[in-house]
């Protein structure tokens, strides 16, 4: 039974399988496209811009309208309300209005009797363009001073003065690519018109409330007229936080106009062209340090390609700044963050939300300092760790939960880092073709939405008179196991088996005004809200039982599916039935807002995070110096999830996050041509890791500790932090490349992702350096 302190829920959690696991493996789990289609269902496709930046001078849709199966075709002129599917800035059009700002931007919308008919017809649109100058790259946009918001500065101390005084200095820079989410279930939404102007939208979205609000504004309705529902997504990773709205709004527009249900199931190639990705970054730095590699001064410039609209880029780039310290105390630091506006698809949220880019920058700097001094990078990292007296971040937040030093020390020993590094040096000395590298990199990741007001959640718990329980909350299930974690919390409160809790689809008509399921916060926020809802009901049941049996409330105990009331025992269901007969409400909402956080964005100072999650990984890699191919041979991970709510689910997040990070930094290369067209728009050309890319040796251990903050079960968030453990792979690749010229005091100039071509180039450049 749960204690009053939600941090003290039952001590050891069983690893309940994902609530839908049996449905997944039997093909019975229903995703949006799996529901039976009504006969009247219309299918949708967009006519897309072929230009990166142009004025539309004419639209001829006669051939589209005449195509077989076409029922309706719409342009921006057909939208009665707001032509907007953006999260914040109001600058994402549902359909282009006069001007296109990236290739793939929707210009018109086709509704047809079949999906194929809609897609075929959409290719028949004749659009006349007057091309305008297009900025496609970070360099283009920088030259044109094209920004989505003013350049931000986060600083402490006098970095310039400290640089001047530092005994050692170096400058460097590198590029890192973006990343496509490649959720296996593409974007999809089904809109069904209801009576009296109501609209139901089934959307594969991480943010049902935002879809609700955008659809309502687009249709000139009130939020109360629109219900958005999502039972599960087939993967999201941030790619369905804002990007789902486009497809949901299109479906709602057609459903509203035609009175027929409308489904937008986006083709994979269209999805990859039309939806946003992780931001690619250019990093430049100048750092001053002492002979031990301790950084005394750092000037860091982070420039990101934000794409054509604002989307979530301000917060994403903020998070890059927040994580440019990672686990290191940087006494004098200036971070300049440029948010460049380009005529490419607007970059968006992706697991880590800018954190990986900021963290990769500082880890690269650690490697660079070590190479410059000719010492083991792990010694440089350890020399720079936060510690007593050096425990305030560049944004003035005091660290109170720093476990990085102990965690790194344990992993270093467990993974036999030092012995393996020696063995690798010997291997490299006798092998002319193959070279190995090893690296240990840590992770410190801030937990909370840095936009403070988003840190709130609601839940709705019903207990039925038979003792069965229904739980609903604002969080969405994208595979991360949120639903089972929250169900466990509720089951624990009532001390019933988790199977007694029916998990229901997330719906805006059950829990309103929700935040996106994002920022790794799903279980922290919704688990606590559900806990509060369940406790409200339990308190009522306790009071009723005490009253009915004439004992004190302290004598009422919930345990093993039953309730002890004084000396009596009663089944949980029996008590619920009695309580119902006694006219006790068995339904409650619950609410939670993260305490103690506040951030002054203008000054970039404050406490944006409730706590930090930590981890570290040791990666060993090998490269073929002839071809630039590589393999990740062995990875050892030690990661901090506080006191785990569900170890199997948490380890699954760690492993999946790690491999996704490895993909970002190795095989997943996005290639655009000089017209701003994405060339890697299908799995034929865009390569996420396969099973054989998983390191043959992959050990994942959970750090034995608990959250210092009173989170649910004293657990910690786990969605995003493990992604950045893969930086160890990128760092190890540098070490392997450096082995072609081991005496050079320089870091190989490797950009991400480390494709064979880039590794080969870095080898050549390092040899020539």
């Amino acid at each position: 039974m749960a204690e009053r302190d939600p941090g003290l829920l039952a001590c050891t959690k069983p690893s309940n399988p994902h609530d839908s696991a049996a449905l997944h493996v039997s093909g019975l789990a229903r995703y949006a496209d799996d529901l039976p289609e009504p006969a009247a269902m219309l299918h949708l496709a967009f006519g897309q811009s072929k230009e990166a930046h142009a004025r539309i001078t004419a639209i001829d849709l006669a051939a589209v309208r005449a195509a077989p199966g076409v029922v309706a075709v719409y342009t921006a002129a057909d939208i009665s309300g707001a032509n907007d599917v953006s999260p914040v800035a109001g600058d994402d059009r549902l359909l282009a209005d006069g001007e296109v700002i990236c290739v793939g931007q929707p210009i018109f919308l086709v509704a047809a009797t079949s999906q194929r008919a809609a897609r075929q017809a959409a290719r028949l649109g004749e659009i006349a363009y007057e091309p305008l100058p297009a900025h496609l790259t970070i360099a283009d946009a920088r030259a044109a001073a094209s920004l989505i918001e003013p350049t931000q500065r986060m600083a402490r101390g006098d970095a310039a003065a400290a640089l001047a005084q530092a005994p050692h200095r170096l400058t460097g820079g590198f590029d890192m690519g973006g990343q496509d989410h490649f959720y296996l279930e593409g974007q999809v939404a089904i809109a069904t018109p209801g009576e009296d102007g109501q609209m139901h939208v089934l959307s594969s979205t991480q943010h049902p409330s935002e879809v609700q609000h955008l659809v309502a504004h687009m249709l000139c309705r009130r939020s109360a007229d629109v219900t958005v529902e999502v039972r599960r997504m087939g993967g999201a990773f941030g790619g369905k936080e804002t990007q789902a709205a486009l497809f949901a709004a299109a479906a709602a527009l057609v459903a509203d106009k035609t009175g027929r249900p409308a489904k937008f199931r986006c083709d994979r190639d269209d999805d990859m062209v039309m939806t946003g990705k992780r931001h690619d970054f250019r990093v430049d730095y100048e750092t001053g340090f002492d002979a031990q590699g301790r950084v005394l001064a750092l000037k860091l410039r982070l420039a990101s390609r934000c794409g054509a609209t604002v989307d979530l880029s301000p917060a994403i780039n903020d998070r890059a700044m927040f994580h440019a310290d990672n686990c290191y105390h940087l006494p004098a630091i200036e971070i300049i963050s440029e948010r460049l506006k380009t005529h490419t698809v607007s970059a968006t949220a992706f697991r880590g939300f800018g954190g990986p880019q900021g963290m990769l920058a500082i880890e690269r700097i650690m490697d660079d300092v070590a190479a410059h001094l000719g010492i083991d990078p792990i010694d440089v990292r350890i020399a720079n760790l936060y510690g007593p007296g050096r425990d305030v971040t560049p944004y003035d937040m005091q660290l109170t939960d720093n476990i990085a030093p102990q965690l790194i020390a344990r992993l270093r020993a467990d993974a036999r880092y030092d012995a393996r590094r020696q063995a690798i040096a010997a291997f490299n000395a006798r092998n002319p073709v193959l070279k190995k590298g090893i690296a240990l990199t840590p992770v410190k990741f801030g937990i909370s939405f840095t936009t403070t007001h988003l840190n709130q959640a609601g839940a709705l718990v019903h207990v039925y008179a038979d003792g069965s329980i229904q739980i609903n909350h604002g969080g969405t299930e994208m595979g991360q196991g949120l639903y089972i974690k929250v169900a466990q919390v509720v089951a624990d409160v009532f001390a019933v088996p988790v199977g007694q809790v029916r998990i229901t689809a997330t719906r805006t008509d059950k829990v309103p005004n929700t935040s996106a399921t994002a920022a790794s916060s799903g279980a922290d926020l919704n688990g606590m809200a559900a806990y509060n809802a369940a406790m409200t009901i339990r308190d009522r049941l306790t009071a009723f039982a005490a009253r009915s049996f004439g004992c004190g409330e302290k004598a009422v105990r919930f345990s093993d599916g039953a309730v002890q009331i004084g000396t009596e025992w009663m089944g949980f269901g029996d008590l619920c039935r009695k309580a119902h007969m006694g006219r006790i409400s068995l339904s409650s909402t619950g609410y939670y807002a993260t305490p103690d956080i506040a951030y002054d964005r203008a000054a970039h100072k404050g406490r944006p995070f409730y706590y930090f999650a930590y981890g570290a990984a040791v990666a060993e890699v090998a490269i073929d110096t002839l071809t630039g191919e590589h393999r990740v041979l062995a990875v050892d991970i030690l990661h901090d999830v506080g006191k785990s709510l569900n170890p199997v689910i948490d380890i699954g997040q760690i492993e999946g996050g790690f491999l996704q990070g490895q993909g970002w930094l190795t095989t997943e290369e996005l290639v655009w041509d000089d017209k701003g067209r994405l060339l890697t728009h299908s799995p034929a050309t865009y390569k996420i890791p396969t099973a054989s890319d998983r390191p043959r040796h992959l050990s994942i251990q959970l750090w034995d500790g608990e959250n210092v903050q009173p989170t649910i079960n004293r657990s910690k968030a786990v969605g995003e932090p493990p992604f950045m453990l893969a930086i160890s792979v990128f760092s190890a690749l540098h070490q392997a490349i450096a082995a072609v010229a081991p005496d050079k005091r320089a870091l190989p100039p490797l950009d991400a992702p480390a494709t064979p071509e880039r590794i080969l180039r870095a080898i050549a450049d390092h040899r020539a350096a």
């Binding site: 696991a21 995703y31 993967g235 595979g479 699954g652 492993e655 999946g656 054989s692 040796h697």
Partner: protein, 476 residues
């Protein structure tokens, strides 16, 4: 005219009017309500749509994992089908499913039915499944789990006894040895059963599109949104599926699927086996044919460079007879092959290399498994003692067609295998090729990557470990 008939869970499914390029995936999902099979990419690259298709093989059923998203319905005629719904339901899971459900093998669950079907194939001894588990699922993408639990589940479950007697009898019941034809309006399809029937059909319909495994043509339909008028499916012609293996070499019928040729190719040379292992995922190799890989004339096509280096010849056939040409002569220019409209590729013959030949075949791609090459190359050196008496070097990805590197061959021939010889051969590559820069690699990288294969050969012959995969296996 007739329709398509196939077995599904023991019952016969009959479809009278069949659009020749309707996909099995769409039929399952939107006609039969079997929505467990998912569309992840509609181009055979993610495996979310994996099903098992069985066909008669003597007194048994040969089951194969296939991508249903690019499987046209007529290709299913006379076959048996298993979808995820054919397996255990929620309360009666197979041991594989139960293990996967319990150990965290699914997160979002969308790719899971595809993995279940690929791995169920392993449990029932499907064709081509006698591979390491990671190879079996190389054509199944999962974005959530990192694969660990899936591999672990697959390793831990026992094989399932599969009683196919009823399926054998039922398939015999719907089998026919005559050409099957059908259509939907003006669009027609044919399934000939003999090479003679195919030759006659082609003579009558020279514009017909020949389809073997549809791993390429499928994308013209699902991605190109093309409407193909007349199709001839050649997957049921037994003569074209023969492999004749003798001391002098290997003759592979054009309809032989890569998975079925894998072992014979590996016996030709281990590098050839490794090359085949890396052509697509298993679902692709279970559909894609050696002949189709040649006939479609891809400038990259992983098979042809190696076959050219090994000295393969190609036999084309028509109603007028046969002709045999050197494989390299088949590729005339980009998108243009030496095949007349009424001809079809019948077989490819590969001479067995001499025991003293030095051979290296290499594929370079961003990702090791299930990727398209940036460069794919093969080197065969005929040796007399220390002297190279014959050199055949061929590359894909370096020109508009797979082609020989004649200058490079010239630099090698007559020389002994020394560092200087390799340096000369590498320098000669610049005369042979002027590659393009594209999404898979820059021109400069391609030249360097091609050279790297020559250097790899030299390092290997001089005894330096040069195989990343061998290194990786030490950590297994």
């Amino acid at each position: 005219m007739s329709g398509v008939r196939f077995l599904l869970d023991g019952g016969v499914v009959e479809i009278a009017q069949v659009d020749p390029t309707a996909t099995l995936l769409d039929h399952l999902r939107y006609r039969l309500g079997r929505t467990g099979t998912k569309e992840g990419c509609a181009e055979g690259d993610c495996g979310a749509c994996t099903v098992l298709v069985g066909e008669l093989d003597g007194d048994a059923i040969a089951w194969r994992a296939l991508n249903s998203c690019i499987l046209f319905l007529p290709m299913l005629h006379g076959k048996a089908l298993l979808t995820v719904e054919s397996l255990g339901k929620e309360d009666a899971l197979t041991p594989l499913q139960a293990c996967m459900a319990a150990n965290g093998s699914s997160q979002c669950g969308f790719c899971t039915p595809g993995f279940v079907m690929s791995l169920h194939g392993r449990c029932i001894g499907a064709r081509g499944h006698d591979l390491p588990v990671a190879d079996i699922v190389a054509g199944n993408l999962c974005r959530c789990t990192g694969y660990g639990p899936i591999l672990e589940a697959a390793e831990s479950v026992p094989t399932l006894p599969q009683d196919d007697a009823g399926t054998v009898a039922a398939l015999r019941g719907i089998a026919s040895d005559q050409t099957v034809a059908g259509g939907d309006g003006a669009r027609r399809w044919f399934i000939p059963r003999t090479a003679t029937a195919l030759a006659d059909l082609l003579a009558a319909h020279p514009d017909a599109r020949l389809v073997a495994g549809a791993t390429d043509v499928g994308l013209w339909v699902t991605k190109g949104l093309q409407t193909l008028e007349t199709l001839i499916f050649i997957g049921d012609i037994a003569e074209l599926q023969a492999i004749a293996e003798g001391p002098e070499g290997l003759t592979v019928g054009a309809g032989v699927r890569y998975a079925d040729a894998h072992a014979a190719f590996a016996r030709l040379h281990p590098d050839m086996g490794e090359l085949v292992r890396r052509i697509g995922g298993l679902q692709v190799r279970n559909a894609a044919t050696v002949g189709g890989n040649i006939a479609n004339g891809s400038p990259i096509g992983d098979g042809p460079p190696a076959l050219i280096a090994l000295g393969a010849s190609l036999t084309l056939r028509s109603a007028m007879g046969r002709r045999t040409i050197a494989l390299e002569d088949y590729f005339l220019a980009y998108g243009q092959q030496d095949r007349r409209p009424f001809e079809f590729v019948e077989s490819v013959h590969i001479p067995r290399p001499a025991a003293t030949d030095i051979i290296l075949i290499g594929k370079l791609s961003r990702r090791f498994d299930s990727d398209i090459s940036a460069v794919c190359g093969a080197i065969r050196l005929g040796m007399e003692g220390e002297r190279i008496v014959e050199a055949r070097v061929a590359f894909g990805g370096m020109a508009a067609t797979p082609s020989r590197a004649l200058a490079c061959e010239g630099a090698l021939t007559g020389q002994s295998l020394t560092q200087a010889t390799i340096a000369d051969a590498v320098a000669a590559l610049g005369e042979d090729y002027d590659p393009l820069s594209d999404v898979r690699g820059s021109a400069a990288y391609r030249i360097e990557a091609a050279a790297s294969l020559l250097w790899r050969l030299w390092h290997r012959e001089s005894g330096a470990p040069a195989s990343l995969l061998a290194l990786e296996a030490e950590h297994g």
